[in-house]
């Protein structure tokens, strides 16, 4: 079942890629660490911190889709569940808040989200490919409508607001620069974790399951257990992203987890590229830039500024039509084109 159409070489691309671009990687890391020295608070929070948070959630989708061959549209739902749980268990502006300390509330929120991720996974792995997309989409929609209509727990359409960002070590983590570093560090850790897991026996087994589940089953691997475990790990990533989102906005409402938000996460992951854990962050940065500046850009060229979704949709279509493995794919193909033309001159070339 070829869910993610791609040349088989990408199975080994991720391990080979990371060490090979060390100079570029180090350069990017240095730029990101010293960015607060030059960039304004608006750029730091509205573009970079936001794209780290979206990137973490999209990374959880990339992990499932890229390594596991399972496209889940419920990742924003898991993020939203973690956010809602943290808001309900912790301190918030509604009379019903339980007021637990933030650490315990966050921990419980993440753990419960992982359990829910296991349930979603257990449902989703009963099917494959396109059915899985539909089922996870249906789960995402059901949870959205549930939070939108339920006032007893989720406070309906308004959602829950006035959720404080914790002060730890005397630092106000809601202030732009600390929050930027908080998201940067967590995003970096998530990226490192996914890169690492893709090379562990578990990650390799997952990629084997993506390419040929029957052979892996014959080799004695428990197909469903691996897939559900992948869902649980992805739920952990999504929950981290969701907690950060709530700290950033100070509120959570059904709009954050709507169907179009679920699709946006898919767009981010696909545009960035499903073949490499850095892809979702690139996709998220493009998305954040588009969403922030599309209005100015459209007005500047004389069009209606409200048409930014049209721009996003068209951009997405172009990427999907011409480069199924996203911006990363474009870049890698461009690099490889240089290589193959050199090899052809030397008499090589493999068609």
């Amino acid at each position: 079942m070829a869910l993610v159409e791609r040349p088989p070489r990408t199975a080994t691309a991720a391990p080979a890629w990371t060490p090979s671009v060390n100079p570029a990687f180090a350069l990017v890391a240095i730029i990101l660490v010293f960015l607060p020295a030059v960039a304004s608070d608006f750029v730091l929070v509205q573009i970079f911190a936001w794209s780290y948070m979206l990137g973490i959630i999209a990374l959880s989708l990339m992990f499932l889709a890229g390594y596991g061959g399972m496209v889940s549209l419920a990742q924003i739902t898991l993020a939203g569940l973690a956010g809602y749980l943290m808001a309900i268990l912790g301190v918030n502006g509604q009379p019903g808040g339980l007021g637990w300390p933030w650490g315990i509330a966050t921990l419980v929120a993440i753990l419960v989200t992982m359990v829910f991720g296991a349930i979603v996974g257990a449902l989703a792995v009963r099917t494959e490919g396109i059915y899985m997309i539909m089922i996870t989409l249906a789960i995402a929609a059901a949870f959205f409508y549930f939070t939108n209509e339920n006032y007893a727990i989720f406070n309906g359409h308004t959602g829950i607001n006035a959720i404080p960002t914790p002060h730890v070590f005397g630092v106000d983590w809601h202030a732009p620069v600390p929050f930027y570093f908080l998201t940067l560090v967590i995003a970096g850790l998530c990226w490192a974790a996914v890169s690492y897991i893709s090379r562990t026996p578990f990650g390799l087994a997952l990629q084997g399951l993506r390419d040929n589940p029957r052979r892996m089953a014959a080799l004695g691997f428990n197909v469903n257990a691996h897939r559900i475990a992948a869902y649980v790990f992805a739920a952990f990533l999504a929950a981290l992203g969701g907690v950060l989102l709530v700290w950033s906005y100070g509120e959570i409402a059904p709009g954050t987890i709507s169907v179009s938000a679920a699709i946006d996460i898919l767009v981010i992951a696909v545009v960035g590229g499903l073949g490499n854990p850095i892809g979702p962050f690139i996709g998220a940065l493009i998305y954040a830039l588009l969403k922030t500046f599309a209005l100015d850009f459209l007005v500047a060229v004389g069009l209606d500024g409200n048409r930014y979704r049209l721009l996003i949709g068209l951009g997405f279509l172009v990427i999907v039509f011409w480069s199924p493995d996203g911006v990363i794919g474009l870049w890698e193909r461009w690099r490889r084109r240089g290589e193959t033309s050199q090899r052809r001159q030397g008499g090589g070339g493999h068609g």
Binding site: E149, V259, N306, G313
Partner: protein, 336 residues
């Protein structure tokens, strides 16, 4: 039928008792104690009728979706956008000409034309590539949603019900017996009943066309093995285009129906895409009868949930989906 009873006597008995109980709920006048626990009978009857008629609308949308999937394995996530586009064009037509029936014709033609374009430009180029089709159609639905928001704005429109369908009708269903011995019958909007009957007729015609005509035979053969069908000289690409156009046209007509007894506004496209997804997941992908069964189940679940536990209604729909997935992942009446 008899085979089923012979093979599963216990299930047959349970189903029979459930059916009898359902009939009793609908036709008998409820005893006082029963009404105290479960509320007025009128509430129940209205919920059931609303659910069944909503199921008719869901069937119109989902049958096109499942037909397209069953034959071509095309996953068209722009199906909801086609529904909404059909509805908007139907609204424009009925607003300009005042003719409700003409709205159906225009909506069908517009939606079918869009379906032809989708099949020729998108799906033919990426046959068998599930994920790319899904992604491309998601992209198309984002673009279409924004274009429709641009042209029609964020207001909600309602298509005018024609004069001969306006008003309520009295049904021979008892809601209550007054203390004076006078019997109260249920009144219900006639337009919803007519639309439901129309969708039953369409379902029957589809069944007839699929099972009794040459084109239907070709389509069924295509569902089973399209390579072999192509090898026998059937112009399979043409069949694909026709089926896609028909499926999309059905969704467009459903848009007019939805615009008449609900309303048309941005966001309805996703709602109906999701409704058809859940309907075909429950009923079984690629099966028309499955779509009909799934549509009625989901419509009933939604409306009964809405009547008895409003804020948890969606959970009921979701639970049904989960239950079906857990017990029969391929759907209740899957084609294979």
């Amino acid at each position: 039928m008899t085979k089923f009873i012979e093979r599963n006597p216990l299930w047959a008995l349970i189903l029979l008792v459930a059916l009898a109980f359902a009939l009793w709920l609908v036709f008998a006048s409820w005893p006082q104690g029963f009404e105290d626990v479960f509320g007025k009978k009128k509430l129940f009857l209205n919920a059931v009728l609303n659910g069944i008629t909503l199921g008719g609308l869901y069937f119109l949308v989902a049958s096109g979706f499942t037909l397209i999937f069953g034959l071509m394995r095309n996953v068209n996530l722009a199906h909801g956008s086609i529904y909404l586009l059909g509805g908007y064009f139907g609204y424009l037509t009925s607003d300009a000409t005042g003719s409700w029936l003409l709205a159906f014709v225009v909506a069908f033609i517009v939606a079918a034309a869009l379906g032809v374009v989708l099949q020729v430009v998108v799906f033919r180029r990426m046959e068998g590539q599930d994920l790319r089709q899904t992604l491309v159609t998601i992209g198309i639905s984002i673009v279409l949603a924004d274009l429709m928001l641009w042209w029609f704005g964020g207001n909600s429109y309602q298509i005018q019900t024609p004069a001969w369908l306006r008003g309520p009708i009295e049904l021979p269903l008892v809601t209550a017996v007054r203390s004076s011995g006078e019997v109260v019958y249920l009144t219900y909007p006639i337009v919803r009943l007519v639309i439901f009957l129309a969708s039953v007729v369409i379902a029957f015609l589809m069944w007839l066309a699929l099972n009794r005509t040459r084109i239907g035979m070709i389509v069924r053969a295509g569902v089973d093995d399209r390579e072999m069908l192509a090898a026998m000289g059937v112009p399979i690409q043409l069949v694909f285009v026709v089926v896609f156009a028909f499926g999309a046209g059905l969704a467009g007509m459903a848009g007019v129906v939805g615009g008449t007894f609900q309303s048309l506004s941005p966001g309805e496209d996703t709602r109906f895409l999701l409704a058809s997804l859940i309907v075909v997941i429950v009923g079984g992908m690629g099966s028309i009868t499955g779509a009909a069964l799934g549509a009625v189940i989901i419509g009933l679940a939604e409306q009964i949930g809405l009547a008895y536990f409003p804020t948890y209604a969606i959970v009921l729909t979701f639970l049904i989906m989960v239950l079906v997935l857990a017990l029969r992942p391929q759907g209740l009446l899957a084609a294979r």
